[in-house]
């Protein structure tokens, strides 16, 4: 694999990661015909998936890499809690909540710029 990377360069790297990503999607399709949505295995898979995507989401917010890591953790969590509170208070309110969250993050950036 390393030799192929060396000789073909960047596009070979992309090819490998595209295959690595599609593999799970394709395998899921091939296996999905054998899973009944009312079965215990479906319930277990749902718990595993929600646990995994929950971990990924919390990681992106609490332990981010790049620019977001400049924003204090307390502020990031505070913005999330405000948006969740508004979302729970008024269901089907996704877009306004996202706009609020984005504005609060921009506000932090502006304050950081001027202080």
């Amino acid at each position: 694999m390393e030799a192929l990377f060396e000789s073909l360069g960047w596009w070979a790297a992309l090819g490998f990661v595209v295959i690595a990503t599609y593999f799970w999607r394709g395998l899921g399709i091939l296996l999905s015909g054998h899973v009944d949505q009312n079965s215990e295995i479906f319930r277990w898979l749902s718990a595993v998936t929600y646990s995994l995507v929950g971990a990924l989401t919390f990681k992106l917010i609490i332990l981010p890499i790049g620019l977001l890591s400049n924003v204090p953790l307390v502020y990031r969590i505070g913005v999330c809690l405000i948006c969740i509170w508004w979302m729970l208070k008024k269901p089907n309110n996704m877009v306004p909540c996202l706009i609020l969250g984005s504005l609060l993050m921009m506000a932090y950036g502006l304050v950081e710029l001027f202080i």
Binding site: F16, A20, R43, S51, L52, A55, M94, S102, M106
Partner: protein, 246 residues
């Protein structure tokens, strides 16, 4: 099946694709637009060409894996390490597919699932999992294709645009662009119906955050499989006890 039935079924599929596309344009689409703008800017900052960066969004279409790929490429990591890391971040697609597609009944001459599954991403999955219980099973595939297609098609030009405007956008705007994706996922979780799934999200989130600094490469997988299974087992035992007491 006669011609008339095929015509009616195709029309129903097109109608549900249109409804899904509309939902995609109003909900996850703009969110993904923001997220991919941020990714385009990241590609520019990492020194990749605009075509390389856009090709990543087109062919991979999995934002966390894309970020890992660019970061590891920039750091000069070994090819095998990059492939393994991306494969690990993408394992969620297996269970996401296994939980979404069994809810869609198979029909003859439907668009090939092995092709359409490329459009499965967290944004599409969370929206479909939320809405499928309210949608007739025969309309779910079209609905999924509509949302998935809109989101995928948005991701490519927004990556391109993000790359182009990377230098023009002030950092305080970029804060919002990189934050909007995780916030969307988080807010989508508030609409998850089953209590067991809500508990799984919470447990996964807390345990994953603790494990990530210790096992950065495997934390997500361990959290999903081990702690998701723990939540399932507790739920199973409680349900059985309830059945016995009744």
């Amino acid at each position: 099946m006669n011609q008339n039935n095929i015509k009616i079924r195709n029309q129903a599929l097109i109608n549900s694709i249109k409804i899904g596309a509309k939902v995609g344009l109003l909900g996850p689409g703009p969110v993904l637009f923001g997220g991919m703008l941020g990714f385009g800017a990241m590609g520019q900052g990492s020194g990749l060409s605009i075509w390389h960066t856009t090709a990543i969004s087109f062919f991979m279409y999995a934002l966390p894996g894309q970020v890992v790929f660019i970061e590891m490429m920039t750091m000069g990591s070994a090819a095998s390490a990059i492939a393994i890391a991306v494969a690990l971040t993408s394992t969620r697609f297996l269970t996401m597919t296994l939980t979404l597609f069994p809810q869609i009944p198979k029909t003859a001459h439907e668009p090939p699932r092995l092709l359409m599954v490329h459009m499965l991403a967290m944004s599409t999955w969370t929206t479909c999992m939320r809405d499928f219980p309210k949608i007739l099973p025969e309309h779910r595939y079209g609905y999924y294709i509509g949302i998935g297609l809109v989101c995928w098609l948005i991701s490519v030009p927004s990556t391109f645009l993000g790359y182009l405007i990377a230098d023009a956008v002030p950092p305080w705007v970029t804060y919002a662009l990189v934050f909007v994706n995780p916030l969307f996922f988080l807010l989508s979780f508030t609409e998850v119906a089953l209590v067991i799934n809500r508990i799984s999200i919470l447990v996964g989130g807390i345990v994953g955050t603790i494990l990530y600094p210790i096992y950065p490469d495997h934390a997500l997988l361990i959290t999903g499989i081990v702690f998701g299974t723990c939540v399932y087992v507790i739920d199973y035992v409680l349900r059985k006890r309830k059945q016995v007491s009744q």
